[in-house]
Subunit: 213 residues, 8 copies
């Protein structure tokens, strides 16, 4: 018994458990996938490498797989969308994989989603060009590395809460995401909810809960 799945979570919290693959063997992940099939249970697999993905796809051949985001979802059809709109913004192209992890998580937990890419503050007109979409969201997720300034700027422009998702994009004194993380925790504009570095799953889950109604 290498795992004790929290099968009660759907009942208790309204959202199913996700399987964090990073520290598990592909064999362990495969067994969990087979279990998911047996109980017809909605399941997300996060931080899945190539071998983890292969093991999942053997047990669940119709699972959806986003290799860049390291995510698999089963069954492939997301639940019917309810609640408010989740807009996911990637400050730069390099933040896209993590932003997609957030977007897919929110979608498979039952929300409508939209994506905006490469609108960092170095060229301000780009994000301002999306103001209408941003203001129509129940929650905005903003993924950013380097200086991590975009979430605070967006928060100052909308009434919805912003989920700030720091990424490890950058070099030197970005310290693998620490610099944008600190920027976000210190955002001058209130309304910024910070999650862990590169934690697209956590950002998407939180956004789904906020946009539940």
């Amino acid at each position: 018994a290498f795992a004790t799945l929290d099968t009660d979570r759907q009942a208790r919290r309204g959202y199913p458990e996700a399987v964090y693959c990073a520290g598990k063997t592909p064999a362990q992940v495969g067994l969990i996938a087979a279990d998911a099939r047996r109980h017809a249970q909605v399941t997300l697999f996060t931080r899945a490498g190539a071998e983890h993905a292969a093991a999942v796809l053997t047990a669940l051949p119709d699972a959806v797989h986003d290799p860049d985001a390291g995510l698999l979802a089963w069954p492939p059809e997301p639940p019917p969308a309810s609640g408010g709109l989740v807009v996911v913004v990637a400050a730069g192209t390099s933040d896209l994989p993590v932003a997609r992890e957030a977007l897919l998580t929110a979608r498979y937990l039952g929300r409508r989603t939209e994506l905006v890419v490469d609108v960092g503050i170095a060229g301000l007109h780009r994000v301002l060009g999306h103001l209408d979409l941003l203001r129509s969201a129940r929650v905005v997720v903003v993924a950013a590395g380097m200086d991590g300034a975009l979430p605070g700027l967006v928060a100052g422009l909308v009434s919805a809460p912003v989920v700030a998702l720091p990424t490890s994009v950058g070099y030197g004194a970005a310290f693998e995401g620490v610099a944008p993380l600190l920027t976000m925790l210190n955002a001058c504009a209130p309304g910024v909810a910070v999650v862990n570095i590169d934690n697209g799953y956590g950002a998407g889950h939180l956004a789904a809960q906020i946009a539940a109604s």
Copy 2:
């Protein structure tokens, strides 16, 4: 012109600006307070020391003042409550001032609020005794210092998002709130929105936005 108030914020975001007193002279804060009166503008004063508070109360004698939380609000009557319930939890008695800053902020931004105190994980039965209240909230704010474990535990028990508010309570390797901050960023249970250390204002503002509907 030592200040450029963001008077547009109420229109743009739906929430008024708050005046951060920490780096201002009492005279500067007093002038801003007089301005607030002139324009009959709802205003919060945060991080106010005794002298800041005196300056505010001279200009706005009927302002509400919570000295422990370093907060003043004017006009004294909060707006009529709308949206969902905000439950604020203080893990220990020492977290109470910061928790109150969060609670008052949410209340003066228009939400119903409830308070729960001293239910840390060292005696688990205490928090479990409040499960019904916690589960009735649209959002739960949990303030905790030291190990900062309570927000993640609460997140695992409810479907609402949890705003995790690390405090500088503790000593040694708590590093003035860094230890609980990291705990909250790494919470095993998804659904945890982290704000800055001792940032009760930010936590309350975020909670008010989440509970807006």
Copy 3:
């Protein structure tokens, strides 16, 4: 003479020396293993990679080898168990290798051991389901990564001391185990004995000493 084994340790402390393989060449480890055989001395080999293990097994073909834990033990039969029960808990499946290192160390130092896996605080009912076993222990070892909250929670439920073993499981602001390490040092519940990150050997050794009577 590349090594000066502390052969006096068994006499002085009552526990044999362990050979830390990480910085040694396989050849050096092989020579030490041959020595162990010559003097019929109970020996543990820790942090052994595949090549270290091969060298040990050449000299001591009947040694027990747990590749995930990087541990070898010789002779293969542990000493007869004495003292109290050591219960080892792995918060998640990913903490299992380090937890096994602790469990095997305690067993080869002469204690009875039990293992509990995947009972993190995100689904609280799981650990509460093992309360009787936990309360029958003379000492509980709890391995956890990410938020590292489980050892403090267990400590609040039992009278025995808890050995808290932080693991490098997690990412981003987990900082390779620093986050759970800090959580454990700041545990709200007293009775938590912290060891180094991923130091399963140290945790098992300490547990064996505590449970000696």
Copy 4:
């Protein structure tokens, strides 16, 4: 209701709750002390400043008070000693207040205790002169600042576990206790249980549990 005492702790864990005074007002602490008297409940007050102490002594005039250690205990008579011997070592004179906090905690939780002072590794003969006493202990608590090397050295000389208590003594690169904390977590000799910086209460509580039998 600013506090929810864990009155169940004595029943559940076998040790009473201690009151952490640092973040509480003297008035709050005084009310808790009055409560303790009413229920005739054994109580420790830790991190008590002069005003906290005055408030406690008003309610419990016969409480024992160690001002350097910031500790008060009531009733003044410790419980009859049981279990094994706890030896507490202070590496230098400056570590004495924290060492006394550990010693008094262990004594008021029911253990026999002995104290050894100023035997740091700069003059090795000093600690070696106490070997017999150290070897008669069921557990040794070693408080040390600066390089924090003493606990590991003691651990290498005895069969009992060592509780390593880092102190904030030192300057510059001691970083308020971080340097000795790291030394202790990396002790070459196994058998070292680390607690938080200056956490004499935690060290004494852990020692009492280890020496319970």
Copy 5:
């Protein structure tokens, strides 16, 4: 001989030495001021507390003194302005003292200066309202604490270089200016020159050199 003034600096670099008062006794600073008078040498005194200032004003009664900025300048008349315009921006009111230190330094080294205050990114329209002034500068100094996002935003809007001056304004995870410092080092927009936290003197000096032609 407690000091060896770098009297050659004006000849070698074109800018006079400044006297850093922080670690000097008022008596030492007074003697240096008397020396400055004797040699009719342009001098700045930085990080001057009240007692340092008194000592300087005794020797140089006509010196200019900005107590908030901790700066004194003598002779009181700045040199005739040459080179390009230096615009100094303070993100918030709390950043004003450090911003003034920068502005006065640039002015006393011979540059024209302009000041803009309280235009942080939480209300974006404020800084955009100053675009013409910003674009007329040869160099812009931007002082900011908390998230430190303003310098990068300004850099993206102008062709001149931006001197980014992090301040220790903020609390918790601002870490006394570390958070804005990192933000500025990681600015997405190129053209950002970073100086030490609260180092208004250094920022003003650098700006004066950049705007020399």
Copy 6:
């Protein structure tokens, strides 16, 4: 749409956008390069690995490529030089790749450049032998790892500003460039503009702006 190029930047700031390749797929970079050709737009590609470079060279076969610096420039002919001289200094041979990134960036943004190599402070006569060249510069870029002391020393010898470029050269307590970064932020000589670790592009861009006139 994985990218939103800031094509307005040349008009707005006077310098073209550079493409940061590190987080992009070679295919994405190739498409951007093809775009650059179509619009005949001056473009720099930074942090380009071998595969990125191949993709660029397929679309822009005449682009200039410096593999050590990870830089490509197109069109291959830099614009006619204007403004002042940029002198780039590499403290050691190991700092050369980053220094070249700075030099090429300044050249492709339209400045004259000179290079000086291996003149660290361990042999002081080396840098002093270049004083005339250093004093003829409008700005000096100094790349250094390990102790990072050279930029401050150069700043004390010239009237021009110095762009300090910390490199990750060194080991142990150099912490991947943190040690030289801190040295530069704390330079005793004023006139030091610090950029991010290994950020040759940023240093060159800033130098080009400073030397624009």
Copy 7:
């Protein structure tokens, strides 16, 4: 028995023990001073505040006292000088107190000493003007804060070893001496022996040992 003086140290090491006053009460220090008188034992008192000093001077009225350095020495006459010359350099005036602690320690351990002040690298000609003295030393102690660059520069000019003594002079990213400490550990010129921040006593002791012959 609050102290166990290492009276054997003079015999074992050739240098007497010093009394670190920082964590001791004045009463404790006074008793130790009385003891020193009784046994006519050469003694240094370090980190002595005003009250410590008063207590020492009561017991040893003829002791030498340097209040800035926090040092007392008894008997007042240093031993006859032997061994080589110790030259102590203070980079700036603010480093003088710590530099004097080093100089006095070396003198009271029996060495000849010389002092040089305020010769930081911002004005290079100043230190070069002392080359002959520096080259006549058996060891050079260099105290420096801020960028801490001077010890490495001196090491590159002399054949003797350099004891590098980082000071907490500076602000912001000097981090109370961490920046100069790192600079010194990473000095490009070999021959630099680093001691703890502000540890003038340690620097002087080490210098005395190096210059013993």
Copy 8:
């Protein structure tokens, strides 16, 4: 001209320059080696990987090569030994490569050397068994990882200075050598000269200078 060798160093300091290979291409290192041969100049090559070594050995086939230490020396015969004895101690077997780098450096700079291995403080009798050798040294180099406690312990037993050489041996909270580095900077026994992590070359050079007479 990618290098500017400090050929004056032998004349100025009495010790030849060493070539730091880490950031150089093998081709560059080979050219420097050919140069060394032409000028018959004593040379050390440090941090040499396999390809660097091959390039050196092509130009200098009789050079001595220690692959574990990453060191080459030419000519192969060290200079005749002068000055005092340098004893090098490796706390554990894993510290041997760095210890050998120190020992060979001291030997090729002209000192007599002795080596002691695997005498860490977990088994104290081991180092005490070498007291006579340690006391006959003019300087002792002690390499240690993990807790880094050995140098301070040795310093307390001898009159000679100790060069403390922290290594990156250990895991988790050893932080790649930071833990032993801090321990050594905070050594309770005076007389400890600290160098950078894994800097065997620097330790050996410093030891050679100290033992010069």
